[in-house]
Amino acid sequence: MPRFQLLSFGVAFVMLAGTARAQPPTPDACVVQAKRLLHEGLAWFLEREAVLMARDIARDRLGPGDGWFRLSQSRYDWKWLAFRFDKDNDGCIFPKELPGNSGVFATLDRDGNGAITAMDLDWSAAAPYLKDTALAGQWFGRTDADANGRISRQEWDALFDKLAKGKDYLTSEDLKKLLPPTPPPKGTGKGKDPSAKSGSGMPSPATMMYGLLTGEIGSLNEGPRPGQRAPDFILPTHDGTRQISLKDFRGKPVVLIFGSFT
């Protein structure tokens, strides 16, 4: 339970105890206070990421647009950047306003229109850039037959042949087939076999729930947020030649990449 919950519980207890010295709390006051604490505790519990993930898995809401993965959080956002570099407050940062080389500017100017704006730092699900990227990714995945992260000339030709169906040209209607198919309607889940694959093509809800409980796709802990201290650790390297601790890098920024081969 986070500290603020313990604190509110403690404050309530002290308040009740305080009033008890002067005047014992009435049964009604105790019930009201207990209900309030229970409500706050339940609200805190229901907002936990693991609980939200379990809820969405149970409801088979597992698609990319279903929002069961929480957004990233960064100390650095548009407000941070604009405060420091948008000196004329026009909502745009042009190259002359930003220190650093052209590569720095290009990385921040995500849409490449010559100015850094709030949209360039928008990574929310509604951002047009992400929608376009997701669409391109789906098209790419369907074309990359050997899933090696590259579309070879052969795969490209195979795609042409598949869409053209014997013709030596493609029409706009042919290209529409590259768009992802409409997913089946999401039902209430009643009567569904939980071991069957989900409507979005992902592993079955039962498999996903097992993955959540075993820590393969999530954790009861939500990890440190921006501003919080990064938990220290000491782990061996993959070749077993040394142990590395996070605090070895104090004084230098560190990127941590969590993942696995699969």
């Binding site: 990421e49 802990n221 782990l235 969590f258």
Partner: protein
């Protein structure tokens, strides 16, 4: 990214539980390229998988292997994959969304750039 910013930012990979073990939520894409790994039951199995990963991907950064009880993975809620940026004071500057959908190197790179701007190192870093 490691090559672009490695002079100013340290990069550490942390090998955690398999995201798509063959005895769990297996992946067709992995099957196609012959990557078939069971969920690790011992630290030695995890170490072997990490070594195979490093060999196949030719990682240029240290790859650390988490304990079999996923101590560091749980501390950072890093499964199945996740990105963090820790500033030089040891505090989190960027917590990526949970992978796969939230695993966005381009988003991390923006935060790296902005951190370097804050530290005054952006002049020579980058492309």
């Amino acid at each position: 990214m490691h090559q672009r910013y490695g002079e100013y930012v340290a990069f550490l990979g942390i090998y955690v539980r398999e995201a798509h073990p063959i005895d769990g939520a297996s992946s067709v894409a992995n099957d196609k390229v012959g990557i078939r790994i069971r969920q690790h039951r011992t630290f030695e199995e995890r170490l072997a998988a990490a070594q195979a990963c490093c060999g196949a991907l030719h990682l240029g950064m240290p790859l650390l292997v988490d304990t079999i009880d996923d101590r560091v993975g749980h501390a950072y809620s890093g499964m199945p994959d996740r990105l963090y940026l820790v500033n030089r004071e040891g505090k989190v500057a960027y917590q990526g969304g949970r992978g796969p959908m939230g695993f966005r190197p381009a988003e991390l790179e923006q935060s790296i750039i902005l951190l370097l701007l804050e530290n005054g190192n952006a002049g020579r870093a980058g492309r």
